[in-house]
């Protein structure tokens, strides 16, 4: 089981792949809710990086990486609430959540 140079590299590569999947979802999917899910996946990949560096880096007792990840989770939750509220508002206005049809600022 030595496919990776170190445990840290394994976690970082998983986070990179998760980030790429989230980015592809945000760029490619038509539905606004799926785009938001892609953004959440990207934020989660960043959290995984932070926690992996906290675990394997020097001075984990200072808790810097873990605290950053916890605050990042809180910010992501706020972002999800506002983003989904915006999607519901747009749906009420334009009767669609298809992003290829919502291409104008002017309703």
């Amino acid at each position: 089981m030595t496919a990776f140079p170190s445990p840290l590299a394994g976690y970082l590569l998983v986070a990179a792949l998760l980030f790429a999947i989230g980015l592809a979802g945000a760029l490619v999917r038509r539905n606004a809710i799926l785009v938001l899910i892609g953004i959440e996946l990207m934020l989660n990949a960043a959290n995984l990086n932070l926690i992996a560096f906290w675990r394997y880096g020097p001075n984990p007792q200072l808790l810097t990486g873990l605290m950053f990840a916890i605050f990042s989770i809180a910010v992501a939750a706020a972002e999800a609430a506002v983003g989904l509220g915006l999607v519901i508002s747009i749906y009420r206005h334009a009767h669609t959540t298809d992003l290829d049809h919502i291409s104008r600022m002017k309703g």
């Binding site: 496919a3 990776f4 140079p5 445990p7 840290l8 590299a9 394994g10 976690y11 970082l12 590569l13 998983v14 990179a16 998760l18 980030f19 790429a20 999947i21 980015l23 592809a24 979802g25 760029l27 490619v28 999917r29 038509r30 539905n31 809710i33 799926l34 899910i37 996946l41 989660n44 995984l48 926690i51 992996a52 906290w54 675990r55 394997y56 880096g57 020097p58 007792q61 808790l63 873990l66 605290m67 990840a69 605050f71 989770i73 809180a74 910010v75 939750a77 706020a78 972002e79 609430a81 506002v82 989904l84 509220g85 915006l86 999607v87 519901i88 749906y91 009420r92 959540t97 290829d100």
Partner: protein
């Protein structure tokens, strides 16, 4: 690298990939919930118990429910033109390029990073003291942000009055 890590990584990535590929929005929301659970278990395997349980509570408990509510409220049908955007090829190329650059950077630089393998002895007591001690200002700012985000989300999604447009 243990077998547990490979299983959790496979679970997380399979959930994310299924959320990216599935046609039905509800199925995609359930798949992304599986991915969030896999991430929480990865956090636990990294000895970050607090972050792992926070991930379960916030993502599986709150964000997944919010997403399901948004899907049900918008009654989104499967579009006839397919689930992917017109510019899907460009998006896929950008995502593949980003992954190539990130993977290259990780594999190139991993040898130069000092690593220690001792599990950090952190208790919830330490996290609590740090939150109200060294990190009290970010904690207050997050409280303010969550309050304003909740009020903002309600105002944005509130029903518009007739003629108020």
């Amino acid at each position: 690298m243990t077998i547990v890590f490979y299983l959790l990584a496979a679970l997380t990535l399979a959930g994310a990939l299924a959320a990216f590929l599935l046609r039905h929005l509800i199925h995609a929301a359930l798949a992304v919930t599986v991915s969030f659970a896999g991430l929480a278990l990865l956090f636990l395997s990294l000895d970050a118990q607090f972050a792992g349980f926070a991930q379960i509570l916030i993502y599986i408990g709150a964000v997944a429910i919010l997403v399901v509510f948004a899907i049900l409220l918008t009654r989104a049908d499967i579009p006839k033109e397919g689930v992917f955007s017109r510019s899907w090829l460009v998006g896929l190329i950008i995502a593949a390029g980003v992954f190539a650059v990130l993977g290259w950077a990780v594999l190139e630089s991993i040898g130069g990073i000092p690593q220690q393998n001792l599990a950090p002895a952190i208790s919830v007591h330490d996290i609590g003291s740090a939150l109200v001690g060294r990190y009290v200002l970010p904690l207050e700012i997050v409280a303010l942000l969550l309050t304003s985000a909740t009020i903002g989300a309600v105002i944005v999604a509130m029903h518009e009055r007739e003629g108020g447009k």
